[in-house]
Each structure stands twice: as C-alpha cells, then as structure tokens.
C-alpha cells in the first residue's frame, strides 16, 4: 500500500520534528506561565503605573498576529542591535505572546475571588505577599486551570508558525519531505496533522475533565 510505504519512510523524520516541536512548546510554555503570572498580578494591582504598562503589553501582543511579532523580533530587532538566533526569537516571542493571554486569564481569575477574602486576610495581619500566597493564589489556580490548558494548546499549535523563520519542527520537516522527495503531499500533511492531534487532543480532554471537576467542587459548596 502506498500510504504505508510513505508513512514508513516519513515517520522517522517526523519524529525528529516532533522532538523539536515538543522542545519549543515546553520551554516557551513554562516561560509563558511565568510571564503570565507576573503580568496577571500587575494587571490586578492597585498601582496605576503597573496596570498601565500591563494593558499596553497585553493589547499590543493580543492585537497583532504572532507571525508579525516573530518577523519583527527576528528581522527588525537586529537593526536595534539585538540579534537572536531562530530558537531564541521563536521561543521568546511565543512566550511573550502566550504570556499576554495567560496574564488576562490570571487577572480575570484574581478578579473572580471575592473582595472579602483579601480583606479578611489583611485584617488577620497578613502581608500582601502572604495574602497572595496563602489565600488568593490557591483559589485562583483552581479557577484558571481549564482556560490555562486551553491556552497551552494554542501555544503548541502556534509553534508551527516558528517554522516560517526556519526552525525544523514537525511541520517544516513535513514540508521538506513533501517538497524534496516529491511524495504525496496529502499523506505527508495528514501525518503531520495527526502528530499535532496526538499532542493536542489529550490536552483538550484534560481541560474538559478539570473543568467538570472544578464545577463539581463549586456545586458541592
């Protein structure tokens, strides 16, 4: 069979691409969560300047396509004296891009906690840091996990765009296979899509599972 022959030939190459995609997703995912947590706290803070910087950051990153951001970082920043290689540019841009969305998730999560919680914590003599750590954040985490997982799925899918500046990830390997070896592009790109599906679909199921658990928890209160 044609499909099996081509798959046998293509899968070892695609596995290498899968490794790069997983690497890009993992590193930028962790960085994006860190940026998102810091950003979300800034966005929910009472200090005007922090909120102002936050809203500029979030609006710029959410209002422009990831591809354009990537091109700006990779092609425009060198003329400002900052030269990055493809991996640094890709991971950095993706982290800041997803970080903007995660910031909004975290900010909304903090906003969903009733004000009395924070007042009670402060009246018990907690410092703002302790209040965040012991009272607010444990509750926020529970609310934000489903949208956070949803955002991480988008991040995995967005790593495919990094291939356009020359990183050999899953989709780039597929493209080279289809062009260089002239093999049936439908089979090759279907295999590529299948690989992404294998990563993203379990994450979707996980986010639905967690959402149900969270809802059960709140219904039982």
């Amino acid at each position: 069979m044609d499909v099996i022959e081509i798959s046998k030939h293509a899968i070892p190459f695609l596995m290498k691409g899968l490794y790069v995609t997983a690497y890009l997703s993992f590193i930028s995912g962790i960085l994006a969560i860190i940026i998102g947590m810091i950003g979300g706290i800034c966005g929910a803070s009472k200090i005007f300047l922090l909120r102002w910087v936050y809203s500029i950051y979030v609006n710029i990153f959410r209002g422009t396509p990831f591809l354009i951001q990537l091109y700006i970082v990779y092609f425009v920043l060198p003329s400002f004296g900052i030269t990055l290689n493809v991996y640094e540019a890709g991971i950095g841009t993706l982290a800041f891009n997803s970080g903007a969305y995660i910031s909004e998730i975290v900010r909304a999560g903090i906003g969903a906690i009733p004000k009395e919680q924070s007042e009670a914590a402060l009246s018990l003599g907690m410092t703002p840091y302790l209040e965040m750590k012991l009272v607010i954040f444990p509750q926020v985490i529970r609310i934000i996990i489903p949208p956070l997982v949803g955002q991480l799925i988008l991040l995995v899918k967005d790593t495919s765009v990094i291939s356009l500046i020359g990183v050999f990830d899953l989709i780039k390997v597929g493209r080279e296979l289809a062009i260089a070896s002239g093999e049936n592009p439908i089979i090759i790109y279907s295999l590529v899509a299948l690989f992404y599906f294998i990563i993203c679909y379990p994450l979707y199921c996980f986010s639905i599972f967690v959402e149900k658990r969270v809802r059960l928890h709140y219904d039982s209160l």
């Binding site: 959410r62 396509p65 591809l67 091109y71 003329s79 592009p185 679909y201 979707y204």
Partner: protein, 215 residues
C-alpha cells in the same frame, strides 16, 4: 533606531491594498464561517448520534491541529488531486473551516444557555423545529454569542497573516514586499503590525462594549 517615514509613504498604495484585502478576506471568511458555525452548532445539539459524531470529529480535528497544517493540506493537497483554486479562494476555504469549528462551539454553548422552557413553550404552541429555532431560540442565542463571536473575529483577522505564505497580498505579504524591495524591515513590518493593531483594537473594544451592555 532608523524609521524612515518616506519609505512608508512611498509604499502607501501597497499598504492600502493590503489593508483592504485583509478586511475583505476576513469578512468573506467570517460570513461563511458563521454559516458553518450555525449549522454545526445545530448539529452538535441534535439527538441524532451520527450527525453529532460527525460534527464532533470535525470540531476536534480542526481544534487540535494548527491552521498552518490545514493550510498546507489544502494548498498543496488539492492541486495534487487536480483541483486548483486561486490563493484568495484557498485562504477562504482554510479560514472558513478553521473558524467554523470554533464558531460551532460558540453557537452550541449559546443555544444551550437558553432555558429549556423556551423550546417546550414554542413546541407546545404548535411550532415545528425549524420555526422554533428561527423565531425563538436562535434570536436569543445570537444576543448571547455576539461578544465571543467578535472575539473570534479578532482571531480570524490575525489568522489571515498566514495567507502571506500562499501569496495572497494581505498586510504581512505587503510587509514582505516592502522589505524585499527596499530592504527596510522596520518600516515594512512595524507598519503592518500597526495596521493589524488598528483593526484588532477596534474589534476588542467592540467586544468589551457589547459584553458590558449585555450585563
């Protein structure tokens, strides 16, 4: 820092065409995606197991794969089968299928947010399924889904940037043309980014305004 406004001015016609093209391909795709989404949403609440599973497979397959992979599959796959479309049409197909899946989920959740009593009341008044949906359920559901729908259209506008790789002259492609001709990356890419920002910022504000008005 070297930003030369003369280059932007020189290529203003390119940017203007690209800006209009971006709006054009976004709105055409949004129109078709809405049709796909409403039909998909209705199928997703259907009691028929086969219809439900077909639409679920469609939605999951689209949501779990990147748009770029879908675009490659359509752009390189269809010609292999002997079907050739213009870049514009290829782009519209890819964006419609992609956004349609997300809008399907939005429509489904909107319909399910309407209390069951509404459907029961209209059925007991002797309406059939079609007129119940058209007159009672969908108009109410539509009000609920407008803010997330505008949010989805922001995503759609940003996704049009991938159409540059199939050589459709939208904002990203315009930036590439400017960079290739004048070797001025900051002028090309920053101008395009600004124009995207104008469209998306307007839509994001609109979505926030509509959400506020509803509450």
């Amino acid at each position: 820092m070297d930003f030369n406004f003369l280059i932007v001015k020189q290529y203003l016609p390119v940017f203007r065409t690209a800006f209009l093209n971006t709006l054009y391909i976004s709105s055409v795709s949004l129109f078709f995606a809405l049709i796909v989404g409403v039909i998909g949403g209705l199928c997703k609440i259907s009691k028929n197991k086969i219809i439900y599973s077909v639409v679920s497979i469609y939605v999951n397959a689209i949501r779990s794969t990147p748009l770029l992979a879908q675009l490659y599959l359509i752009f390189f796959g269809l010609p292999y089968l002997g079907i050739k479309f213009s870049p514009f049409f290829t782009g519209v197909i890819a964006l419609t299928l992609n956004s349609g899946a997300y809008i399907t989920e939005i429509v489904r959740s909107g319909i399910q947010a309407i209390p069951k009593g509404q459907a029961e009341a209209s059925l007991s008044l002797g309406m059939n399924y079609f007129s119940m949906m058209r007159r009672i359920i969908l108009p109410q559901a539509f009000l609920i889904i407008i803010p997330p729908l505008v949010g989805q259209s922001v995503v759609l506008v940003k996704d049009t940037c991938l159409m540059s790789i199939i050589a459709y002259t939208e904002l990203t492609r315009a930036a590439e043309i400017v960079v290739a001709n004048s070797f001025a990356p900051s002028e090309g890419y920053l101008t395009s980014a600004f124009l995207y920002l104008v469209i998306c910022y307007f839509l994001m504000k609109l979505s926030k305004y509509l959400e506020k008005r509803q509450n």
